[in-house]
Symmetry: C2
Subunit: 160 residues, 2 copies
DNA sequence: GCTTGCCTTCGAGCGCGCTCGAATCCGTAG
DNA sequence: CTACGGATTCGAGCGCGCTCGAAGGCAAGC
């Protein structure tokens, strides 16, 4: 939960409203690695950073940690493809939901090893789902508590 | 999101099921500083830590930061009253929902200054509510993403 | 009286996830 | 030709929230 996180959440939240697609189709377009090249031109590190709500520094750090492998142009500049961007969206969502860099690196390493690791990846995602659900319960409790305080401190001129 | 957090969430989650009270009444009993002394005997630092899902070290740290002020017995040992315990529950919930130590210290400082600071505290809680709501949205997106992956990785022997 | 175990204070250390700055290189505009 | 913005690598540093260990005190059991 670092500074970047707030920006990140803001950015990622506005993703779903870009078309008349169903939720599942949107997710597919956003996340499935086989639906590549929807938008042709690759992005520079700064553009990619902006799109995904991180800094260029952080994107380079993620690469260093093996989480993404953008191509390079003839000058050695990074070029983020749609594939890379989808990967970044996935990474940021997992980070937002509290998956550690350690676990994320492990997961991505499995992804890069291909099909034989699918069942292991599935296990990781099942655990991740449990973590998220626990967090949701914790957050809802915190929300109740916060609303209780607001109530005690005198009504709610904002919100019902 | 440190090690303690997981334990902490586990502990705090089981609080609501202890009686036939309504949600609001439960919250009141758990959080309102005027409903003191439901359970008489004060707790030692280790007991308090266990109850709230933190370590004794962390409780001492919180005290050092001015977040709680447990009384001391004749030997200088800490004695956590029901008041203190409720305070701790509040603190942990705020921490779970991502409020920083910095903000929490500020908030508690206001609490200790009494009534004149109520409107300021209310503002803080309104902001806190917004932060929690943003986090909830982010988490829900992460949950969808995770479930999408689970789906892609082949059905859900666990959960529908 | 001694051991055991939990309490005390204090200050240093740590793991995480960035974050930043220095030094250098590329590419376009004037 | 020069200047400038943005790219590169590298390694060091940082803020947060604990976390730990040393050195010693208190209280109950044998």
């Amino acid at each position: 939960m670092i500074m970047a996180t707030d920006v990140l959440i803001e950015q990622l939240l506005r993703v779903p409203e870009h078309s008349g697609m169903s939720t599942i189709a949107t997710l597919h377009a956003l996340l499935d690695d086989s639906t590549i090249e929807a938008s042709a031109a690759p992005k520079s590190v700064a553009e990619a950073a902006q799109l995904v709500g991180l800094t260029a520094h952080t994107l380079r750090y993620y690469e260093q940690e093996g989480l993404v492998r953008p191509a390079r142009n003839s000058s050695g500049y990074r070029e983020y493809s749609a594939f890379d961007l989808r990967r970044l969206v996935f990474l940021t969502r997992m980070r937002v939901s509290g998956m550690t860099m350690h676990d994320l690196k492990r997961y991505i390493a499995l992804v890069e090893q291909g099909d034989p690791t699918i069942s292991e990846r599935r296990t990781i995602m099942l655990e991740q789902r449990e973590r998220i659900r626990r967090q949701l319960r914790g957050l809802e409790l915190a929300l109740e508590t916060t609303e209780y305080k607001i109530h005690v401190y005198g009504g709610a001129p904002d919100g019902s």
